[in-house]
């Protein structure tokens, strides 16, 4: 477990390095999310960092991508968060990706692909062979991205109900 929890940086051919999140990254994560979603949620991200950046690191992965060209002050280009969940909805253990964000001005430069590949590698190293995520039907960009990475509709259908 200790080995899996170690910071493991991978340099992608696009010039992007992917590594585990650090406390110093949280401000940039909050800023990127606020820029993309137009809603600042510092409490949420600080809590996510505490839980996914510091605890149970053998099954929780909070990874960030940075621009390796800027060695003195690498810029955070995006992040991805996932975890191994077991027996939810009767499913055998699988890897769930529940957050992915990339700086809009560097999209179509393989940043998300590098993050996705690093997350896949973490899941594989942990013995996981199935990766899942959930995307809003009208969220066209993330939907197109996950499809381009080979993800297809799975055997589950999400259901919901308005509680009057």
């Amino acid at each position: 477990m200790a080995t899996a929890a170690k910071a493991r940086a991978t340099k992608h051919e696009s010039g992007v390095r992917v590594r585990r999140v650090r406390a110093a990254d949280v401000a940039a994560v909050i800023a990127l999310d606020a820029h993309v979603t137009k809603l600042s949620k510092p409490d949420y991200w600080n809590d996510i960092f505490r839980r996914y950046g510091r605890q149970r690191l053998h099954e929780r992965f909070f990874l960030v991508a940075e621009d390796v060209a800027m060695r003195a002050e690498p810029r955070l280009l995006g992040f991805i968060i996932g975890e191994i969940r077991a027996w939810e909805f009767g499913s055998t253990p699988c890897g769930w990706v529940f957050a992915l964000s990339v700086e809009p001005e560097v999209r179509l430069q393989s940043v998300a692909t590098a993050l996705f590949a690093a997350m896949s590698a973490e899941f594989k190293r942990a013995g996981i062979t199935k990766m899942r995520t959930m995307v809003a039907r009208d969220a066209r960009l993330p939907m197109m991205f996950f499809r381009s990475e080979g993800m297809m509709a799975g055997p589950y259908i999400q259901l919901e109900k308005d509680l009057d």
């Binding site: 179509l108 039907r137 009208d138 066209r140 939907m143 197109m144 996950f146 499809r147 381009s148 080979g150 509709a153």
Partner: protein, 152 residues
């Protein structure tokens, strides 16, 4: 879900034109591969041209080139040129419908929404990956990459 022949041809034509960057093909070239008449395909290409997805190249050796971005053009972008894909809800306000009609419409709208979301999430670039995977080309390319000596 069934797609009309024109929709299928338009998708196949987009795949042929994007198989290599800047590829230029005549309707006869594409028609020959899929066993369809140039006349039918020319009509399909005309519709795609009006939508800005392909451009005609004039002169000897002319034909068509893809004019969109394969990583942003989806199957929905193409399909909605030839198919009626709007849901029943958009077509009627439901005022003169029975409760049974309304309940059924709700279910059918759910199916339509899922179909649109699926078509809208598969780009032409992703289709190429799916084709490669089904023909085993993707695995061959991966194996070739693994065999390549790594650069120091």
């Amino acid at each position: 879900m069934r797609l009309q022949i024109s929709t299928r041809l338009a998708i196949f034509a987009a795949l042929e034109l994007t198989a290599q960057e800047g590829r230029q093909l005549s309707v006869a070239d594409i028609g020959e591969k899929y066993g369809v008449s140039s006349h039918h395909l020319a009509k399909v290409m005309h519709v795609m041209g009006r939508a800005g997805l392909v451009r005609a190249v004039r002169g000897a050796g002319g034909g068509y080139q893809f004019a969109g971005n394969p990583r942003r053009t989806t199957l929905l972008d193409i399909a909605q040129l030839f198919e009626e894909l709007s849901s029943a809800e958009a077509d009627s306000d439901g005022a003169d419908m029975t409760p049974e009609d309304q309940a059924l419409r709700q279910v059918l709208n759910e199916i339509d929404d899922i179909a649109r979301a699926t078509l809208g999430s598969i780009t032409i670039a992703t289709m190429h990956k799916l084709v490669d995977r089904s023909t085993g080309k993707g695995e061959l390319a991966k194996a070739a990459t693994r065999r390549k000596p790594s650069r120091a």
